[in-house]
């Protein structure tokens, strides 16, 4: 929390992240738990967590366990590590701007709540940056996740998104306008992109195993979806060239500022599904999917599932479970 008398810096703060902070943010509003809760209840605000991610030091002995705790965030938060540092690279800046546009559907009046930890300048910077992008209702929550949890509030496990995390992912039930039937009654045409793997990939010895698993599980996902009778699953091969090009340019197609929509358009899809597995460790993983409306770019569904064990069996179960869950709407 801001110590009395700390003035707002002119630009972004580039000093110690945990140095004393101001109690104000020019152009934005400072809020505390009750107001955050109210905004959460209203369901209109976008919550942005800008905490850092823990990174496995390369020097750690190969057998040494690396089991970072699952990251806890506000129930609807997007976790965008790296967007709160003093000086952003162009890539991260573009990403942050684009991610906010997607989350707000380009409406600068959507309230944004930015936070990280108590005493964490990253959130001040990121909130200021959002004001600079033109958002008119930016709320800075300086008490952070600690303030939130100490007040006995609910949290959810989140996975990091964006280039600074190297590991995109959101976990957040988004506004759930279920688009599974068209007004004309025909099944929506769904393009299902290959599963992607983010997070701790576990070193080069796992590369082949993972590549194989992504392939078989992507097939399984398409078959499962086909089996629900809710979608017409498109064959992606007509867009293979485009997909390959995009893959060479983007780390992840599920998080490339809407490049998946181009694929969808070229396949004449109504919707695109992107799904990815975030591997926190060999034990802790989560599977997330999003369905994007090709025409509007809106996310019509998004959900994450935790699962345990980086092996075929566990992945199979996770995929099957996800598809079953998707049919229960």
């Amino acid at each position: 929390m801001g110590a009395e008398g700390v003035a707002e810096p002119e630009g972004y703060w580039e000093g110690d992240v945990d140095a004393p902070m101001p109690s104000t943010l020019h152009g934005g509003r400072v809020i505390h738990v009750e107001e955050v809760e109210a905004l959460l209840r209203q369901g209109k605000a976008v919550f942005i967590d800008v905490s850092n991610t823990p990174r496995r030091p390369a020097e750690l002995a190969p057998g040494a366990p690396w089991l970072p705790l699952p990251h806890r965030a506000l129930p609807d938060a997007l976790w965008l590590p790296g967007v709160g540092v003093g000086a952003l690279t162009q890539e991260v800046d573009d990403y942050y701007r684009g991610r906010l546009q997607r989350a707000t559907a380009r409406n600068v009046d959507v309230p944004l709540v930015v936070y990280c930890h108590e005493n964490c300048w990253l959130s001040w910077n990121a909130a200021k940056r959002a004001i600079g992008y033109g958002y008119r209702r930016v709320f800075w929550f300086p008490d952070g996740i600690e303030g939130w949890t100490h007040a006995g509030q609910q949290t959810k496990v989140a996975a990091p998104q964006g280039p600074a995390a190297r590991t995109p992912v959101a976990e957040t039930p988004a506004p759930n306008t279920d688009g599974t039937t068209r007004s004309d009654g025909r099944l929506p045409a769904l393009a299902v992109l290959d599963l992607e793997l983010t997070g701790d990939l576990g070193g080069p010895e796992f590369a082949a195993e993972h590549a194989e698993r992504l392939k078989t599980e992507s097939t399984r996902l398409r078959q499962d979806l086909e089996g629900t009778g809710l979608y017409r699953i498109l064959d992606n091969s007509a867009a293979q060239g485009m997909i390959d090009t995009l893959k060479s340019q983007q780390s992840y197609l599920h998080d490339c500022n809407g490049c998946d929509l181009d694929v969808g358009r070229s396949l004449h899809a109504d919707q695109v599904m992107v799904a990815w597995v975030d591997r926190v460790s060999g034990l802790i993983l989560s599977l997330t999917y999003e369905i994007h409306e090709v025409q509007t770019g809106q996310i019509t569904a998004r959900k994450s599932f935790d699962f345990r064990g980086d092996n075929n069996n566990a992945w199979n179960h996770a995929i099957d479970y996800m598809v079953r869950d998707l049919t229960k709407k």
Partner: protein, 287 residues
């Protein structure tokens, strides 16, 4: 280290994304009884913490059973630490059980295994002290392994957060000065065959790779102590496999039993494969 085979767990447990929304009925009973009264942590969190520990047990010890050792195995740390990068922990063993080694586990650190002490014939496992980094409110577990291969645990709750990413100190250059400088203080007068406590001080930044240099905005590359070996007149006293949770400029107190006058030798190896060694006379030379 290499002794720990982590993660080969074919668990197929699937929950909705309510995070660690585990089956709380299953988790309600702390299976080892090794967890002391909770210090200010609500019940839901308590369940989560119990699950975390179960998870770690599995990752670190596989299917081996861990019994409650709290009657004779002590672990002490301040309930609320002043500096999360320097949390003092002391481990004590009461009685005459033959102890092979002690694991120190900081449950909620990303690299939870902070250290594994292995005692040699000249070692005395009754008391160990060290300082560690604590990243989030956490239980800290001591797991003692007896010479007949049984495991016992005891735990303590510590409120501290941010120790892993806390800047290593004033500045990097300064932190690297005198690296490998080793001092030993003997805490009792020498008497042949009587246990003695020694305090070992090692100058080493023990960079864990999670600390950001605020000037350059870059992470300081990890460089930390992997092993410490202490011997007395050539016979092993203690071996420590350490990890990124050990504080910078480690201070470790340990016991040993010198059968006669001699030399205590300390050998430290870090991740750059630099080794630092020094010998100390026991008893310490007068003056």
């Amino acid at each position: 280290m290499g002794v720990i085979r982590a993660l080969s767990i074919p668990v197929v447990l699937l929950t909705l994304s309510a995070g660690w929304g585990w089956n709380s009925a299953r988790a309600a009973g702390l299976q080892n009884g090794a967890t002391p009264d909770s210090v200010g942590s609500p019940d839901g969190e308590e369940t989560e913490r119990a699950e975390r520990w179960k998870e770690l047990q599995h990752a670190l010890f596989g299917d081996r059973q861990i019994q409650d050792g709290s009657a004779w195995l002590g672990i002490d740390a301040p309930a609320r630490a002043l500096d999360a990068a320097l949390v003092p922990v002391s481990l004590t063993v009461k009685g005459d059980r033959a102890i092979k080694g002690i694991y120190l586990v900081i449950d909620n650190n990303p690299g939870p295994l902070a250290g594994h002490f292995i005692f040699g014939p000249q070692g005395d496992p009754h008391s160990l002290k060290l300082r560690v980094r604590v990243n989030a409110y956490t239980y800290v577990h001591a797991v003692a392994e007896t010479r007949d291969n049984q495991l016992f645990s005891a735990a303590r709750f510590v409120k501290a957060a941010g120790g892993c990413s806390a800047p290593a100190g004033a500045d990097e250059q300064q932190a690297l000065q005198d690296i490998g400088h080793i001092k030993v203080r003997l805490m009792q007068p020498f008497a042949a065959g009587k246990p003695m406590e020694a305090q070992l001080m090692i100058r080493h930044p023990n960079f864990n790779g999670m600390q950001m240099n605020q000037a350059t905005r870059l992470y300081t590359p990890a460089m930390f102590i992997r092993t410490i070996d202490v011997s007395y007149n050539g016979a092993p006293v203690m071996h420590l496999d350490s990890d990124i949770s050990l504080s910078s400029d480690p201070v470790i107190s340990f016991g040993f039993i010198p059968p006669q006058k001699g030399q205590l030798k300390v050998l430290v190896r870090d991740t750059k494969d630099s080794t630092f060694g020094q010998s100390f006379d026991v008893p310490a030379p007068a003056g």
